[in-house]
């Protein structure tokens, strides 16, 4: 049986670091990230080429899945901008600040 951690990241927190900090606090180094919805002030994703930036004021996280491996988050998904345009790829570390909230679940695999 694996245990589940329910998370909410508040405005201003960093997407990757926020997940990693809460996981550390609860002694989780490895797990599955099951993203619920959320919003970012702007989003940066990468899919083979240079990072693509989705503008704010709120770039909505439409889907997100990922993993925590040795305490480091790796997140993939899709984002929608204020015009409804969709961007897809791997969330770029340090470039996805939370706008209002991000809701997710982390399933521990330790």
């Amino acid at each position: 049986m694996t245990r589940l951690l329910l998370l909410r990241l508040p405005a201003g927190s960093d997407l990757h670091e926020g997940i990693e900090a809460l996981a550390r606090e609860h002694g989780i180094r490895n797990g599955l990230v099951r993203g619920g919805p959320g919003s970012l002030m702007r989003a940066a994703l990468q899919a083979g080429g240079p990072p693509i930036e989705a503008p704010g004021p709120a770039a909505e996280i439409l889907t997100m899945v990922g993993e925590l491996c040795d305490g480091v988050a790796d997140l993939h998904g899709t984002v929608g901008d204020p015009d409804g345009r969709v961007y897809a790829g791997r969330f770029v570390r340090g470039r996805n600040p939370v706008c209002i909230t991000v809701e997710l679940a982390l399933e521990a695999l330790d």
Partner: protein, 153 residues
């Protein structure tokens, strides 16, 4: 930041019943499982009605940012994939926060779905739900943003 450790993870594959609003379909599926809260991954399928919002700045308003006017995807609309949090509203009733990628004749778009306006196609949608006993998402009114937000409790 908020985190609540729940009990052992539990998973379920559910059918969100066709012809219902997104809110009715998710609430019904969760009631069938006896779950009060879950994180959901919604798989793709047809929508009878797909309405979504994106964000707009609202200077001078009660909150600095808000949902813009509803936008409807013309038929035939398709939900490509979605994510959702189901939990408990301030009044104790169900609350649903859902974002999704949608597709229609004008291309692929995405945003915040209007849960009581979106209607599933007749065959419904499959969703994978994750939850655990001992913790749930519950709406809390956040003074800083002015939003009612689903928060682990």
């Amino acid at each position: 930041m908020t985190a609540v450790v729940a009990g052992p993870a539990r998973h379920a594959r559910v059918l969100l019943e066709g012809g219902q609003t997104l809110m009715e379909a998710v609430t019904g599926a969760m009631a069938g499982l006896g779950w009060r809260s879950a994180t959901l991954l919604i798989l793709g399928g047809p929508m009878a009605r797909a309405v979504f919002h994106t964000s707009v700045l609202t200077p001078g308003g009660p909150r600095w940012i808000d949902y813009g006017p509803p936008r409807e995807v013309a038929a035939p609309a398709w939900l490509v994939m979605g994510s959702a949090t189901f939990g408990e509203a301030l009044d104790g009733g169900p609350a649903l926060h859902c974002h999704a990628v949608l597709s229609g004749p004008e291309g692929v778009v995405g945003g915040h779905l209007a849960p009581t306006t979106c209607v599933l196609g007749p065959e419904g949608l499959v969703a994978h739900a994750t939850s655990a006993a001992g913790a749930r998402f519950r709406v809390v009114r956040e003074a800083a943003s002015g939003f009612d937000l689903l928060t682990p409790a």
